[in-house]
Symmetry: C2
Subunit: 473 residues, 2 copies
Amino acid sequence: MSKPGIPQGTRDFSPAEVRKRQYLFNTLRSIFENYGFQPLETPAMENLVTLTGKYGEEGDRLIFKILNNGLHEKKDADKEKLNAEWNKMLEKPYTSPVITERALRYDLTIPFARYVVMNQNDIAFPFRRYQMQPVWRADRPQKGRYREFWQCDADVVGSTSLINEAELLCIYQSAFYKLKVPVIIKINSRKILAGIAEYCGASDRVADIAGAIDKYDKIYWHGVEQELISKNFSKSQIQLIRKLIDFKMNISELNGTITNPLSEFEKDFTEKNILIGLQGIREIRETLKYHDNLQSSKWSQQQIEIDFKLARGLNYYTGVIVEVVCNHPQVKIGSIGGGGRYDDLTGLFGLKNLSGVGVSFGIDRIYDVMEELSLFPQNLATGASVMIVNFGGDNETYALKVLQQIRNEGIAAEIYPDAAKFDKQMKYANKRGFTYVLLLGDEEREKNMVSIKNFTTGEQKMVSLHEATSIIK
Amino acid sequence: MSKPGIPQGTRDFSPAEVRKRQYLFNTLRSIFENYGFQPLETPAMENLVTLTGKYGEEGDRLIFKILNNGLHEKKDADKEKLNAEWNKMLEKPYTSPVITERALRYDLTIPFARYVVMNQNDIAFPFRRYQMQPVWRADRPQKGRYREFWQCDADVVGSTSLINEAELLCIYQSAFYKLKVPVIIKINSRKILAGIAEYCGASDRVADIAGAIDKYDKIYWHGVEQELISKNFSKSQIQLIRKLIDFKMNISELNGTITNPLSEFEKDFTEKNILIGLQGIREIRETLKYHDNLQSSKWSQQQIEIDFKLARGLNYYTGVIVEVVCNHPQVKIGSIGGGGRYDDLTGLFGLKNLSGVGVSFGIDRIYDVMEELSLFPQNLATGASVMIVNFGGDNETYALKVLQQIRNEGIAAEIYPDAAKFDKQMKYANKRGFTYVLLLGDEEREKNMVSIKNFTTGEQKMVSLHEATSIIK
């Protein structure tokens, strides 16, 4: 028999890990609820047709497809069809519905859009929903990147008001404030990026420009320039991009983290009458104004910063975009959250003109950051706080009665189920990390008392059950 | 564009449904924790080799297999192999690891056994874990049967003490007590069933006998008899089975629900010196004795009943078995929970002699029962309890400040994000089911007050923000 294992890129979560993850999920849940967002859950499996074509070619490749069941039970005529389809699938990137018609959820956004379209008549718009569920991607696993990982999204659809953008900034701030994670929340607008593209005469190439400057932090201006050259941008175009971006970045960096070089851009865009760029600037200004009225002084460690380099990978964003990075010298990790405004997500499924805006929390990375900075509460780890030692016979009977009385007090408790050797029971108690053990021998039973031992200090005393529960609580 | 849908047998959970499910999960979680059980979570995907052969032929057929990615990128030589394997898969029930090497979790028991074996050196035994996660089966969907459904299991491995059985009975009772669901918890022992088989000279055919009598409630004695005949049991064997089972059932039925015909069986087994049967009887007696010391008088609506017809489908049980049915005239539904003792589950993965016992909660069915009997708390449904009407301009600015102050009081609140027409905003508020709306116009802003409207009574008054929050709370 070979040793059992689990698929590459997946994880078991031990009791201590589940408890920490629960803490993280519950903290986020309480904030979403406080902001009037409503929970939604969708199935792990979606029809493959719902997912394909939504995440680009690379995305299609990384979707986990589920094999249709009962293939060998088909009739011979159907098997011919199956064989033909199979051959096509071996030849090219293609998935046949007779071989695979279902797939695992790749993100929470597309299922949300699908849900909204299917339930549009029952939903009260604007619809604010949050969703915290696993997604699956056949990416090459590496440190911090899994094939099964959790997403946590909050979106509002059916409202174009920038109050929504401002509220989502507040959700980020109050969530990371509660979790004690210091962050920088970067903000930009796709419309400003579109303005830059128009400024240098390449309106149709926003994605290329955005894709290149987004990498500035990793490859610096030299690298960005090389990428733009490789994508056939002209020297003069590259100079204009540099003039705008490089200059504005320097201003931002020189003045510290919270600067506002919007006016500089406004001048450039006004000069050339670039309306989309001007609109982007207005939207950022208005979002920040709303945010000013909503924000709390407690959140000062959760900074907001305009960053024109920010582009965000997925192409469906059309307005304000945001990204969260951890702001702690000890933590070297990429983005731990992001989101933005998308103007026509549900259009993919036939429901036009429904604007939406949302943010996402990178649960797994936030977990890693909190581990690294020891931000999880100490008391989450053990669970049950009391173990009763099992001395067998009449003492066991007495122990069971005591056990149930303790539990009725709301104290998590267990008895060692076998009347095993004392050492063995103590070894177990030690490994589990109980705070207290109760020793109920002949004397305790006859006196209707309990001996309580503090496992940390080693101190032991005989007290009434009532007193013991007070000590434990 | 075709209308979007979801795969047959899967479900979206709306906000109201998620909240109710959360209530159910949290109630069970709090009981498991109170009894010292620890949470575990395993990945949705397992290696297919971990799952195949564990659930019988039918089970293998119903496992959802995941297609390996990148098939068309393989080299030609590998594609020949792929084709050969594909042809085998079309011919017979066979799955090739070059085509599918991963599959969706089919239950929580096998992943638990796999986890215990993989982590045996780190686990403190006896290991008590609970797990609440979805599982997937390619069963034909029908009312109350889904292809994605939730299991909720609590198991103890590494202890043969019958205290564990007794504690699991208490967990059932206190869980259904908390959920207000009246139930009957049926208990039997596989060893008694083995004793019956031995009694009628068919020791090797326990499964056939158990399978037949398990259906007594649906097909009565006549049906059971037919099934036994069809399985080639002799007349005299069938008479002996009837003598034991039918007679004991009648005793049990005549005397009401909590009867104990154990002594009758004991006489029969003693006469013929059937040791396994006698051991089964001793184990039930001891379990119930332990249970007597643990149980609470509050649980009287959650009855325990010995039922010799009870067999439980899966073959890995070896000792005490239990099953829970709803005990309410209005509810016609099958079992809503079950479990038992298994002696060598981890042996499947090479770890021998680790006895375990566990129970399972049928989440989806329990949910349905609670809906039918209206047992969910009323206040779970809406979420946010206050909406602020948006009058735009300066009033909007004032509203944002009020909004954040209310949220800081721990009250879930939202503002209608657009300064839309009053009627539109009221329509939204009505559909969402808010208890209160706040109206903040010129007068309220100038006086630094709020008008609060009770949506149920229609009553409206202008008060201070402090007073409004008291009213809402």
